[in-house]
Assembly symmetry: C2
DNA sequence: GTTTTGGATTTTGTATTTAATATTTCTTAC
DNA sequence: GTAAGAAATATTAAATACAAAATCCAAAAC
């Protein structure tokens, strides 16, 4: 691993292990060998331990005292459930946005969405982030914190793996924008909930395509 | 600190620091001195560090690389917001319970509530936990996990500090029980949301009574 | 008198070491 | 041949050691 700025090593390792898990390199139930990671990344076990604690809190890793850390057993139902929760909170925030967005924010939302709808694949991810970022900006602090946490412990970037997720996302965002512009609080919530429900289904598909659920049998 | 079973030291320290924060011993914004805690508890910095990472993920502590760990700046609005989120998720689960509880579960819920309503102060906490535990048992895995997390990073046990929280809680639970027994999905959700909203207000009162918001000025 | 700068001190982040527990393997008894 | 138990091995959790960065404090410049 390239020499990382001192003081953020643990975070770097978190990203590494998280990616390994979400990309299916480490299978659910598999034991996470601290020494192996340390040798591979050329770091000591101290930051690795801290990284595993973070991932444990995120729910991607299960730590059993004196036994070690294991990749969490995640089922399709867990992913669906997770997105459902994500949608529940996001829906609440979308409702807030429909109520409290200023005219400037409405215009900006429309602008982002227009670019999103017209964008090439490469910008999709960025514009998608901008879209949700703007909506979530009206949420109170703790809610924003929870949304960040819910987003982190999840596979993202399905624009590549799920074929027509692009079109579906554009449609979903469109309905959300429409509802917020109309200041229809309930419709905004429902549209956001639906959008994230769909995203959950897409996530399961994406993970399936990557062979995420296939168990290690050796 | 009494000698703790090896392998759970970090968790023990998490509890200790969390209590220190929620009891107002450590003030928001205050720096958390790792060496001081280590000396006081007679442990090395390794498990303390892991504890701080956990608390950082919970949002009770803010870790700044190379600067150290600080008690998070929590405002009354944050606590209200937190309980609102807690209520949002719990409400969803209450709705599930209203839909899917078996007759046995309904009877058990009624039983717990009856004992709760009649109980002395000492049992209130335990019966309150049993109540929510039973309702939450119908939630899918990830939702239960989130509820546990939301509950942990929050001050609990306001039965002592907020004078008539007892009565209010009994009333709140009563409405929830009624709605679930009637299998009224929407009423169950609303009742649970209201209950946790009230709990949030009580929490702020309790924290105020403890002088939680008073800043350290030395 | 205030601000800036440079070194001393403290404290963090990571590495290394030590001690304890879990796991595996091998032996022995049935 | 299988099962139980004991020794060997491996791996974790915690303690200690060390290096780098941040903070503190004092002296000097403005």
């Amino acid at each position: 691993m390239a020499p990382i700025k001192r003081g953020a090593l643990a975070e770097e390792i978190v990203s590494y292990i998280r990616e390994q898990i979400l990309e299916g390199e480490m299978k659910p139930g598999e034991k996470i060998d601290q020494d192996a990671i340390g040798e591979f990344l050329d770091v000591s076990r101290s930051p690795i331990r801290e990284a595993l604690v973070v991932l444990g809190q995120e729910g991607l890793v299960v730590i059993t005292p004196r036994r070690g850390a294991f990749v969490a057993e995640i089922s399709p139902d867990d992913v669906i459930d997770h997105y459902e929760l994500f949608g529940l909170v996001s829906g609440r925030v979308a409702a807030m946005a429909a109520e409290s967005f200023t005219d400037e924010q409405l215009a900006e939302l429309q602008g982002i969405h227009d670019r999103f709808a017209a964008s090439s694949n490469d910008d999709h991810f960025k514009l998608n982030e901008e879209f949700h970022q703007l909506v979530n900006s009206v949420a109170p602090r703790r809610t924003r914190w929870l949304l960040r946490n819910l987003q982190r412990s999840i596979p993202s970037g399905f624009f590549e793996t799920t074929p027509d997720w692009d079109a579906q996302a554009v449609r979903g965002h469109g309905e959300i924008v429409e509802a917020i512009l109309a200041r229809d609080v309930d419709a905004a919530r429902r549209a956001m909930e639906t959008h994230l429900h769909d995203a959950g289904v897409a996530a399961v598909e994406g993970l399936t395509a990557k062979g995420f659920w296939e168990t290690e049998d050796d």
